[in-house]
């Protein structure tokens, strides 16, 4: 004990300022984005389907399809991208791909081959209209949920045929209000919404009733601009933090399970990441936007 005691003291000194619980990643690799003329675009949103095909949006206004090993399968462009580039993507149950075409205030539905199948919404504040839609997801019953951050900060729910069902949320900092609801997932009849600039995750029923707030406990560092979230196969939730430049793993009660990453341009670092997705084998892909790369993390 007399030997061990001094070492314990030293160890304690070192641990006082140690970061919060770190997620251990056995591998950090990156995927390249194909050049677009004289530039290398940055990824903004990611979605992986059940077959591990990865759908990516970049800031050149392209939709990129990757295989699970990072090989480019297909590339197509948005119908227009002069005003700005899209920010949310999901593959629907019927095989179509829905893209939140943010700066054109609409949802664009693509066939799997990249042709435009249809569009939903126009610019406006009314139900069924959008100003800067940024996130889109679908529940098992086929309903679509769209988050927007323009004039009205809200989430709208649509039937698969585009019929408006309901809406919830408004601009503000109170419970049930949003400042940029930029990521959505549906789980067990609940909608989890990342409320980016309020630094929290809010949970609603899929009918739009506010239920609770998820977030790290008060004694750990709060979220710092959470931009997107995904659930892994253990039912835990990965959150990508744009300002925090890291990913955070929480359970469904909001307890912190670990964090990974810090600001930078090297291994283990991110620069203003926007999105993430999780593959079936547990690998995590992060849209490391500021570094113009997709980061593949193997837990």
């Amino acid at each position: 004990m007399r030997f061990v005691f001094p070492f314990l003291i030293l160890l304690c000194c070192g641990c006082i300022d140690q970061p919060e619980q770190q997620l251990v990643m056995s591998k950090f690799t990156t995927w390249n984005l194909p050049a677009d003329g004289s530039r290398i675009p940055a990824p903004r949103a990611l979605y992986a389907d059940s077959e591990d095909t990865v759908y990516c949006l970049d800031d050149a206004g392209r939709v990129l399809l990757y295989s699970e090993d990072g090989t480019i399968q297909k590339v197509w462009r948005m119908p227009a991208s002069e005003n700005g580039r899209p920010e949310g993507i999901v593959k629907l149950q019927d095989g179509r791909i829905a893209v939140a075409d943010t700066h054109y205030h609409r949802i664009v539905f693509f066939e799997p081959d990249g042709t435009v199948e249809s569009m939903l919404g126009t610019k406006g504040r009314d139900p069924g209209q959008f100003v800067y839609p940024v996130a889109v997801t679908q529940d098992p019953d086929g309903f679509l949920y769209v988050g927007e951050y323009g004039d009205r900060q809200r989430v709208q729910k649509f039937a698969i045929d585009g019929t408006f069902v309901t809406e919830f949320g408004e601009h503000g900092t109170e419970l049930g209000q949003f400042q940029r609801p930029s990521g959505l997932i549906w789980h067990n009849h609940e909608i989890l919404v990342v409320d980016a600039f309020n630094n929290r995750i809010q949970v609603f029923s899929d009918e739009g009733e506010f239920l609770r707030v998820l977030g790290p406990p008060v004694d750990v560092e709060p979220f710092s601009f959470p931009y997107d979230l995904r659930m892994n196969h253990d039912g835990h939730i990965y959150v990508v933090e744009n300002q925090g430049a890291r990913i955070t793993l929480i359970n469904q009660q909001g307890n912190l399970l670990g964090r990974y990453g810090r600001p930078g341009r090297s291994q283990g670092q991110f620069f203003n990441p926007w999105g993430l997705t999780v593959l079936t084998d547990g690998r995590i892909l992060v849209a490391d936007t500021g570094n113009h790369r997709i980061v593949e993390l193997t837990p």
Partner: protein
């Protein structure tokens, strides 16, 4: 032989105690350990702290609760060491001697301790030898670091996009562990991205480089400096190879020395079939008013054709003629006639169908004529200002017989040559933001180099409030716009929020406008800037006095300005800082594309409550409607809204905004100016009238600046050593400048403009500053041929003499040329000047001879960059670079995959070293106290023994048993001290050497056992001390 033996015995004296095999252990262990480390069989741990602030700040204790800001140290294993001076290991020869002196008992230490001490000393010796041998940690890496060098000079204008496409394609396909960086270059190189694994190549180049020249040397040198030493460095040079400045071979030699191959990708300028350009415009050397002369231009064409030749004078078309030209050189003459003295700039322009001409940039050439005559006064006015700001002065000057020309500030020439016809320039309440930087510089240069006078009149848009602080105009004036001494002005605070700069050169613009804004502020004002960087919303620099400009510039230059997703957080940060500031005037500027949502109403209310105004600048919005958000923010907080169509308007906006904080410098009070110094300017003026206001300025700390009139002190002002200048004058360079800090309008100067001596005063003031033209005997003639100018000086003095002539050439930017002129014929001097591309160059000729000293002026106009006269690439130069450095010549027709394979496919292990002797020094520093301690400090180590006997009862001794033990020890110590009170040192068991002459009786083994524990002094009387004591006693007895 005996000598050698004796010498050897002196070095290695006979042992004082018998040697056993254990005596050699220290040397053996040291030899093994040293060999293992030196041969890198065992790794060396190198410990370091990742938190640099630990060293800077030490251990930080929190205000409450003593929170330690300690960081856990990390370490790395060094597996391979290299030595700069390996022969220093020969010094290891001393180690046997060190060991011997200990082992043989010459150190006077007990055996066990002596062996340990010997080992420690051997280790110290080993460390010292290693430090002298200068160890370097060796790293091997197969990572390839590539720096792409892209030529963006004018000669590759059309191929620039193609070159950047190549970069993007190959960098996007590079192995993810390799690094890529980008440098663009023209006259100078600029780093777009340093080499990193991520290559965030945006759609816009952020660097602004002058494209009127190609400097391969500088770009290659810069790229070589950026390549990390530990990786396989490689440069990919994409250029047309037409080097115009620099010494390429120097850079190539450096690259060869560093083993950095340069792969070259020649840009093929497309085959040119038709090209027409004007080489030069020749004007008569000397002209007289009213006579007709000939202007001749030389046109060069690849093929015969026809076009329209136009000659314009001072921007207005003068003559047009249809011309047929032949392949090769053609000369066309056009008659010209000038009726008045002055400065005339001519431009000849050839207009041909676009399909007959490859480049249009070289279709116009310029030259000038200057006809000396009575000097004019240039009165510069604010284009949107009140006419009365200049009309009183204009009237007074005209009444005094002066030739006055009134010009709006926007029409002011941008080069000093065009100002040559004026004797003096007067600024009548002209704000700095109406002028381009080139115009301000031109006025400054005209004063300094051409001797033209300058006068600034006061008003709300003049001096500091006009935005002239830290400008060349302030340098030229005899007053300072810095208010820091006596006047306690209301302080201002400014926060700049750089929301987004997603447009061409956006980051460069953002940094530039931030600097411009700071320069306008008073040194006491606070300024801060917020951007969206690596850590999200963050201060680029917090509220800092503008006086610290020099320390802020590196922070601004290093800022990484990302696309900020929202306003609210940054506005809150800025508001908090402004609220905490003690500034009376608080302002915020936001530059944004307007896409974030409107900040919450309560936040805007908080701004209003705190009286913080916000001005917003909307740049390149996604949707014009986004501008409404920014407009609403500014209107709700009392600021202004700007929607510039061009980024070049941004600096003037920021200057205008920043100077709103300086309104406090306007002093509105009525007083009679106090005469401080007399001057010809004030000659014969009696009873000067009252003034009703002025702009606060300071006396310049320069004895040459003379304040003639000042504002009298106010009642509450005690310090009489400082004055508020009203009228000041000095000589600046070759010119004279004056500052009148009040106005000469119907406002502050209303009593003056109606004063009967007003005309006399204005006339005398202008006469005082106006350029005086002495008798001129020198004539300067200049002409340009390509990128070389020629200055010819002719001496028309009645008496011929040899002149010492110096020619100075400047371009108002960074070009400076100064050289002695050679005489080439009687009364004729000539020199050739290498010019640096498109610019207007001023030529100043200073001649000194017997009883003579004259100055004459001239100039060059290089109409277009020599880059536009290069119609083919120079792949040979590029191929030579590749061959000399071991690179390859890349083919632009390769697929991106093939190109990437060529650049990144040649992989080899790179061995790099870095110095690690610092670690050895630290280890040495730690070992030396240990060495001293082992030899000089005696500790009771019984507790160590007890600790290892953790299973026994004794190890858990109670306080009682410890006290008993202490008592027993004390008792034995007392008895021992009675026996040997003269022995202050602890005795050590030593083997009695044979050479001991008078051995004292040994203690019996029984006694030794009794005297345990170890801490107790042993009565080993064979020790040196004992022997000495015995000898002393014997001598005492004998005495």
């Amino acid at each position: 032989m005996n000598h050698i033996s004796s010498f050897f015995k002196r070095i290695f004296p006979a042992p004082r105690r018998p040697l056993t095999w254990t005596s050699g252990l220290p040397l053996a262990i040291f030899a093994i350990v040293f060999a293992l480390f030196a041969l890198s069989i065992l790794p060396l741990p190198r410990i370091f702290l990742t938190n640099q602030t630990f060293w800077a700040n030490g251990i930080q204790l929190g205000s409450f609760g003593f929170s330690w800001d300690l960081k856990w140290p990390t370490w790395e294993w060094i597996w391979d060491l290299d030595y700069v001076r390996p022969w220093m290991f020969l010094l290891l020869i001393v180690t046997p001697w060190i060991w011997w002196m200990q082992a043989a008992g010459h150190s006077g230490l007990a055996k066990g301790r002596g062996e340990f001490a010997a080992f420690v000393r051997l280790i110290i010796t080993g460390l010292l030898i290693m430090v002298i041998a200068e160890p370097r940690a060796v790293q091997t890496s197969s990572v390839i670091s590539v720096v792409y060098n892209v030529d963006v000079s004018d000669s590759v204008n059309d191929a620039r996009k193609l070159a950047l496409d190549v970069v993007a394609d190959s960098a996007a396909k590079k192995p993810t562990t390799d690094e890529a960086g980008l440098v663009v270059f023209g006259r100078t190189p600029a780093v777009e991205y340093p080499p990193r694994t991520s290559f965030p190549f945006e759609k816009f180049l952020n660097s602004q480089v002058r494209a009127d020249a190609t400097n391969l040397q500088q770009t290659l040198s810069l790229s070589a400096a950026m390549l990390p030493e530990e990786n396989n460095g490689r440069i990919v040079l994409i250029s047309d190879g037409t080097e115009t400045i620099g010494e390429l071979q120097k850079a190539v030699t450096e690259l060869k020395a560093r083993d950095i191959p340069v792969d070259v990708l020649p840009i093929d300028v497309k085959e040119i079939k038709d090209e027409v350009f004007l080489e030069r415009l020749d004007l008569p050397r000397f002209v007289k008013e009213g006579e007709t002369y000939e202007a001749a231009t030389v046109l060069t064409a690849m093929n015969a054709g026809s076009g329209k030749l136009v000659l314009s004078q001072n921007g207005e078309d003068l003559y047009e003629m249809d011309v047929d030209y032949q392949a090769g050189k053609n000369r066309f003459a056009i008659p010209i006639r000038v009726d008045q003295p002055g400065y005339y700039e001519y431009e000849a322009r050839i207009e041909v169908p676009a399909d007959k001409d490859y480049r249009s940039e070289n279709n116009a050439v310029r030259n000038y004529l200057y006809i000396d005559g009575p000097g004019k006064i240039l009165l510069v006015r604010d284009p949107i200002g009140d006419d009365l700001e200049y009309q009183f002065v204009e009237k007074a000057l005209k009444e005094a017989g002066r030739n006055v020309r009134v010009l709006g500030a926007t029409d002011l020439p941008q080069d000093p040559l065009s100002l040559m016809e004026y004797d003096a320039i007067i600024f009548a309440n002209v704000p700095a933001d109406t002028l381009f930087a080139t115009q301000v510089q031109a006025v400054h240069d005209a004063v300094r180099d051409l001797g033209i006078g300058f006068l600034m009149l006061g008003g709300p848009n003049s001096f500091g409030p006009g935005g002239y602080q830290n400008s060349p105009i302030e340098d030229a004036l005899p007053i300072s716009m810095e208010i820091s001494k006596r006047k306690i002005l209301p302080k201002g605070a400014l926060v700049v929020i750089l929301h987004t700069c997603e447009f061409a050169n956006g980051n460069s613009w953002a940094k530039r406008i931030t600097k411009e804004a700071i320069k306008v502020l008073n040194s006491q004002d606070d300024v801060g800037a917020i951007g969206y960087g690596m850590n999200g919303n963050e201060w680029i620099f917090e509220l800092t006095p503008a006086a610290d400009y020099d320390s802020l510039v590196p922070k601004i230059n290093a800022a990484q300005i990302g696309d900020m997703p929202e306003f609210t957080g940054t506005m809150q940060m800025g508001l908090k800082a402004l609220e905490e500031s003690d500034a009376a005037s608080r302002h915020m500027i936001i530059i944004s594309d307007g896409d974030p949502p409107m900040p919450p109403p309560q936040l805007l209310k908080a701004f209003k409550k705190s009286e913080v105004t916000i001005s917003t600048v909307c740049v390149f919005p996604h949707d014009p409607r986004d501008a409404q958000v920014l407009n609403a923010i500014s209107s709700q907080t009392g600021g202004r809204f700007y929607f510039p169509s061009d980024p070049s308007l941004l600096p003037s906006i920021f200057i205008k905004e920043a100077k709103t904080l300086r309104r406090s410098q306007l002093q509105k009070r009525t007083f009679v100016p106090k005469l401080l110094n007399d001057d010809s300017m004030l000659r014969d003026l009696t009873a000067v009238p009252q003034l009703h206001g002025y702009v606060l300025t300071s006396e310049k700390e320069d004895p040459r600046a003379t304040i003639l009139l000042s504002a009298p002190l106010e009642e509450n002002e005690l310090n009489e050593s400082d004055v508020d200048p009203i009228l000041a004058v000095w000589r600046y360079g070759l010119g004279t400048t004056a500052a009148w800090t009040s106005d000469l309008t119907d406002d502050w100067g209303r009593d003056w403009v109606n004063w009967k001596q007003f005309q006399q005063f204005v006339s005398q003031m202008v006469t005082r500053i106006a350029r005086v033209k002495p008798q001129q005997n020198l004539r300067v003639y200049t002409y340009v041929n390509g990128n070389e100018g020629t200055v010819v000086v002719e001496d028309f003095h009645p008496e011929e003499s040899l002149l010492d002539i110096q020619v100075n050439v400047t371009d108002g930017d960074d070009f400076q040329f100064s050289q002695q002129v050679q005489q080439i014929a009687p009364r004729r001097y000539q020199i050739n000047v290498p010019l640096q591309g498109k610019a207007r160059y001023q030529v100043q000729v200073n001649a000194v001879g017997t009883n003579r000293k004259e100055t004459a002026y001239g100039g060059f106009i290089v109409s277009y960059s020599p880059e536009y006269l290069r119609f083919q690439s120079n792949p040979i130069v590029l191929q030579e670079i590749a061959e000399q450095t071991g690179g390859v010549t890349l083919d632009a027709d390769l697929t991106p995959e093939e190109l990437t394979q060529q650049i990144y496919g040649n992989r080899k292990e790179k061995r790099a070293t870095r110095p690690v002797f610092d670690w050895f020094l630290m280890a040495l520093a730690c070992m030396i106290p240990l060495d001293v301690a082992i030899r000089r400090v005696q500790l009771d180590f019984s507790w160590v023994k007890k600790m290892f006997q953790s299973g026994s009862k004794e190890s858990t001794a109670t306080m009682g048993s410890l006290l008993e033990r202490k008592k027993a020890v004390q008792s034995s110590l007392t008895s021992a001290s009675k026996q040997a009170t003269e022995r202050p040192m602890t005795s050590r068991p030593v083997t009695v050497p044979k050479s001991a002459r008078k051995p004292v009786p040994k203690k019996t083994s029984e006694d030794a056992t009794t005297n345990k524990p170890e801490a107790q002094p042993q009565t080993d009387d064979n020790s040196t001390t004992s022997r000495l004591l015995a000898m002393k006693r014997k001598r005492d007895q004998d005495e």
